[in-house]
Symmetry: C2
Subunit: 294 residues, 2 copies
């Protein structure tokens, strides 16, 4: 699909639409190179406009990058499901609609949860997985926005729009907050054809899905043994939204995962260290090995 | 010292000797490039001949690599001290004797403990630190060779010499054990000018030092906050000699550390994944940033 694949960047790629049955999905697709397409699955309440061009443009120099609004997000129709399984069904329907039978996945936060669900349900759909700032089923302290340390930023009337994101995605240090301000600046580079901001029902349904994801039956983390895809796990040590021990559990229980953790970084570690992250991610994605080690 | 610095490899570099007062230290120095010299500090009972040429030769393509026998090890004179502080004094005396006022350090296992001690006592001596398979003061389960999972290999009369190393440095999987066999093969490439194997007093004194290192006073891990050097921490998830939680504690409490953990690997993760490790280590060492992120 050359008309979809030569778009220059996150800031300028047009929003496209794919109809699958009654459902319409909004997405952007750009980049070129010999790599498999990379599907990017977005964080809690994030839209197409929440992807940092410093990350997606760099990765798009070696492959098609596909940004995706799940059902009920941005300009995708439908309602946001309240379970991970239902959300993952939409992602798979979207990939089927694009006739993509195999791709790499970058799952950030909620997106990383969906990537795990998809890898278990339809392993053949995915080749390599990057999980950033996410948690396994049965993980702990996943997106508890009612925690005082998060609530104080979210409820502060001085913090509006992207200012909240800077506070809660970045560590409370001068260096990390400066990186957060730069990140916000990059998000603002796109001027036209932007998604509408999420309504309150989006967050409520997604939080319900996180609460369900924290529950487990049987042996804790045993389900991870079945995900044999080469996996790169990335997180910041100061992530207060999904603490780093969740990445430890992921990496210790997935049979084929490399763990990379950054200092002085919170939930948005991949954006704070976009250059390092993209170098590591590109090296990982470029490998043909059956091992995650790159 | 050009005569010392152009030696071709771990397998052929001659053993050299440096006298400092009454003490004679054995060492090897080889490699070239613009990087700072890299001092390699060895593991429990290891001699100059226990460094994997796949690691040291690759790193020596960008810098001088210095392998070092601490007091009482290999052909260095003196007795092995029973505390980390006394061992670190010898390393610093050796560097002073070489007139090296600033270097990078690769500390593996016991060597990583010495690197931490030196970084606290003489921070200016070190620029960047790589800590592999090691533990902070106050760490847990550090080299308890009496554990059944380790003792069964060490006490097995079928395991002699390097065969023990393969069992306890590599994970109990076919893939990791195969990597261990390849590692042993590489250690055997050096035929002449080899160190004598360690006597029983070496291990006893080094184990006493580990037991002392497990003890702490005051706030646990607070001493790590003072080590501001850019640090790269590497370990295998299946390290039974110094379990990975020790690397978590290191990386969470050092203010400027990146953590990298490998799957299907034990204590010898850097040897199992020599190519990946050297690529990461070289990128880390080549950085001029004040941040550990590379």
């Amino acid at each position: 699909m050359p008309s979809n694949t030569m778009m220059p960047s996150s800031s300028t790629a047009p929003t496209r639409f794919l109809d699958v049955g009654d459902q319409r999905y909004a997405y952007r697709r750009f980049g070129e190179g010999i790599g498999l397409p990379l599907l990017c699955l977005q964080h809690f309440t994030g839209t197409l406009d929440n992807w940092d061009p410093a990350v997606t443009d760099a990765l798009a120099t070696g492959r098609n990058v596909i940004l995706f609004d799940n059902a009920g997000i941005g300009r995708s129709t439908g309602t946001v499901p309240s379970t991970v399984a239902e959300m993952a069904k939409h992602v798979m329907a979207f990939l089927d609609g694009l006739h993509l039978t195999n791709c790499d996945v970058l799952g950030f936060s909620l997106g990383g949860v969906l990537a795990q669900q998809m890898a278990q349900e339809r392993p053949s759909l995915i080749r390599r997985i990057i999980l950033v700032g996410t948690a396994p089923r049965g993980g702990e302290d996943i997106m508890h926005l009612e925690k005082p340390s998060l609530a104080k930023h979210i409820q502060d009337p001085q913090n509006r729009g992207y200012a909240v994101l800077q506070k809660i995605f970045f560590a409370p240090t001068a260096t990390s907050q400066a990186a957060g301000a730069a990140f916000i600046g990059r998000l603002m580079q796109r001027r036209d054809d932007r998604d509408p901001p999420p309504g309150p029902n989006v967050g409520a349904a997604q939080l319900a899905a996180f609460r369900e994801w924290e529950r487990f039956t049987g042996e804790r983390f045993a389900d991870l043994k079945g995900i044999r895809h080469p996996t790169l796990i990335v997180q910041g040590f100061k992530d207060d939204m999904i603490p780093v021990r969740n990445s430890y559990w992921l990496a210790e229980n997935l049979p084929n995962a490399v763990l990379l953790v950054y200092p002085d970084a919170g939930h948005g570690s991949l954006f704070q260290y976009a250059e390092s992250f993209c170098k590591q991610a590109a090296a990982f994605l470029s490998s043909d090995s059956e091992s995650a080690v790159f």
